[in-house]
């Protein structure tokens, strides 16, 4: 039944700054089932991208375990990790800066295949590139073009083809559609969904766009200032959000529907600095339901309903 492909345990990533310790990711744990999508949601500075990078060890976690198919990859040597990364790929947010401007589409997509010595023959490699291009919906004629000649949607398709080149098992999608226009966003979201169905891929979908994540994910984890505040299956989270932050976040999405008159929960102030945090609920300074207890410690993540976890003194 349960077949977890990736388990993150007590992952921490702190950065040393001149003003003190910056708690980018502060002791988070979650599990993803094979073939599913986990949505990692939050606003700028909540640590969602750092989490994505720490899972791939693109930045070294400060502590914690990342167990991929039963192996703690944090303990792997550089060479072992290099091999492991074939199974774990990433798609970046900005298709303008994540592609080398001096390489052609062919070179960009072929690079991981060549570097990992998967196909040594140049012509066979090109065949594979064409195959990947077809998979992601890029016309064959674009094989020798450069990224600057292409629009954002096509560039993001190159990023996806490059990630698929290694036949990964899990792909971390870090805001893959945020930089794209609405009509192109839908094209890319549909493509990612089709690829998941045909290849059995597992996704971690990092985003601030709750509408997209709702459409896309099986489970959702909401982060605030390096901590998980709520995690739940997607239907639960949208129909029954519990944490005050999740509720405010959901109420803040502008909905293009005139029949819907919602009550907006408006938050005061802005996200506090993640440096030298006091020992209290991270959301307390902005919370509209804050009680004394919230200022006296960090609330644990408690299961309030089956698979629905909340970190809040008021609601658990």
């Amino acid at each position: 039944m349960s077949d977890p492909i990736l388990e993150v345990r007590n992952l921490k990533k702190y950065f040393k700054t001149s003003r003190g310790m910056l708690h980018a990711v502060d002791d988070i744990s979650f599990t993803i089932e094979r073939g599913k999508t986990l949505g990692l949601v939050g606003e700028s500075g909540c640590g969602k991208s750092t989490t994505g990078r720490a899972i791939l060890r693109l930045i070294e976690p400060t502590s914690g375990e990342v167990i991929f198919e039963g192996v703690d990859i944090c303990k792997l040597s550089g060479e072992q990790m290099r091999k492991k990364r074939k199974d774990m790929q990433i798609i970046f947010q900005d298709p303008f800066s994540s592609l080398d401007p001096k390489k052609t589409v062919n070179q960009i997509i072929a690079e991981p295949i060549r570097e990992n010595r998967i196909i040594r023959d140049k012509h066979k490699r090109e065949d594979r590139v064409l195959e990947l291009m077809e998979t992601v919906g890029l016309a064959e004629r674009l094989i020798n073009t450069y990224p600057h000649e292409l629009d954002g949607g096509r560039r993001q398709r190159i990023g996806i083809a490059r990630a698929l080149a290694m036949e990964p098992k899990i792909i971390i999608c870090d805001e893959p559609v945020s930089a794209l226009d609405v009509s192109i966003q839908a094209q890319i979201l549909n493509l990612l969904k089709e690829l998941q169905e045909s290849m059995g891929l597992t996704y971690i979908f990092i985003t601030h766009d709750l509408a997209a994540v709702n459409h896309f994910s099986d489970d959702i984890t909401v982060m605030y200032l390096g901590k998980i505040v709520e995690k739940a299956p997607v239907e639960d989270l949208f129909t029954n959000p519990i944490h005050p932050y999740t509720r405010a976040l959901l109420s803040a999405i502008p909905v293009p529907d005139l029949s819907e008159k919602r009550r907006r929960i408006s938050l005061k102030g802005e996200i506090t600095s993640p440096v030298n945090l006091p020992d209290e609920c991270r959301f307390a300074p902005r919370c509209y339901e804050c009680i004394d207890r919230c200022r006296q410690g960090i609330p644990p993540l408690v299961e309030v309903a089956p698979n629905h976890f909340v970190s809040c003194f008021v609601h658990s």
């Binding site: 226009d181 609405v182 709702n214 976040l249 999405i253 502008p254 909905v255 938050l267």
Partner: protein, 336 residues
């Protein structure tokens, strides 16, 4: 100002903007008409390259020339023909009668001046008050947008993105303009901060009776803040009308496509229906209706002639030759 304006703060007829570059002519805006009543908010909607920002810049006469060439039959703001203004006169109205909130607060502010000085600048210029008085009023403006006046002596880099956008709004509103052009004012912000800023803009607009053009690609924001909508595609308005007409009685296939591309918060199983293909190159627009190559309803006739914006009723206009055919209807995914 003279009040010979039919109750309109803004009237534009046949605005055309093109950029003549070495590579060819970029046709950014291809003949649009705009009418905006006092205290009304118009949402100008469209995707990258639709010509939204160029339109706003043309209204302020800020399109760089060369390479930009602006042609317009009529451009009146509060009954004044802006086309006849020289640069001195334009300086007098920019920031006073008409001002703009730019998209990116990170680049719209000058990094070497304090935010107080930047707000005071336009007050000093337009209201002819002393620097001390202008700085005092800048402090008032900061408080108005929810920033303590003690921060007037801070520099932009000391503020977060949301705070910087508040400063940009304070600058735009400092001289109480009659017409505000807001170019994607919340696109760079987080959703909870976006909610705060939209609420603030709404309050201030009510308080000062400002008319506004809200440029955005987000139909959710339009639903929240606008009275009227104009949907732009390839430099033309393809559909316009009251919020209710455009949202609930959509007539143009492109507007339909925009709605159907959005993930639906209510129904997560619904498959997204993207608009096929890409926005046309403004240097090489297709003949006839510019949307025809991407349109599921297009016929041979659509590629023959540019459709004109036709009134369906007094509150709704569409530029599509097929809209009144008996068997033609738009398939809007049910939203609620």
């Amino acid at each position: 100002m003279t009040k010979n304006n039919n109750g309109l703060i803004l009237e534009v007829n046949n605005l055309v903007v093109r950029y003549e570059t070495m590579d060819g002519i970029v046709r950014a805006v291809n003949g649009i008409d705009l009418k905006l009543g006092y205290k009304r908010t118009l949402g100008l909607v469209g995707e990258t390259g639709a010509g939204k920002t160029t339109t706003a810049l043309a209204l302020l006469r800020l399109v760089p020339d060369p390479p930009g060439i602006v042609e317009c039959e009529k451009l009146e703001i509060d009954g004044e023909n802006i086309l006849t203004f020289d640069s001195d006169k334009l300086d007098q109205i920019r920031g006073k009668d008409i001002s703009m909130i730019f998209q990116d607060p990170m680049t719209a502010l000058n990094p070497v001046y304090t935010v107080g000085e930047q707000i005071a600048e336009s007050i000093e210029l337009h209201e002819h008050v002393s620097k001390t008085e202008a700085l005092k009023r800048a402090g008032d403006m900061l408080e108005l947008v929810g920033i303590p006046r003690s921060r007037a002596n801070d520099y932009p880099h000391q503020f977060s993105g949301g705070m910087k956008q508040r400063v940009v709004i304070a600058i735009a509103l400092a001289c109480n303009p009659q017409l505000l052009l807001a170019d994607e004012p919340t696109t760079a912000l987080d959703v909870t901060i976006q909610a705060q800023v939209l609420e603030l803009m709404h309050e201030l607009k009510e308080k000062y009776n400002t008319s506004m053009i809200m440029i955005t690609h987000d139909l959710g924001i339009v639903a929240e803040i606008c009275d009227e909508v104009a949907v732009m595609y390839a430099g033309r308005i393809v559909e316009e009308g009251t919020l209710e007409k455009v949202f609930n009685h959509t007539k143009h296939p492109y507007t339909e496509g925009l709605f159907n591309s959005l993930p639906n918060v209510k129904d997560r199983k619904a498959k997204l229906k993207p608009i096929k293909g890409l926005m046309p190159d403004p240097m090489d627009l297709p003949p006839g209706c510019a949307f025809a190559p991407r349109c599921d309803y297009a016929t041979e006739a659509c590629t023959q002639k540019v459709p004109t914006l036709t009134s369906i009723d007094e509150a709704h206009r569409v530029a599509c030759i097929r809209y009144d055919e008996p068997d033609f209807h738009i398939e809007r995914r049910i939203l609620s």
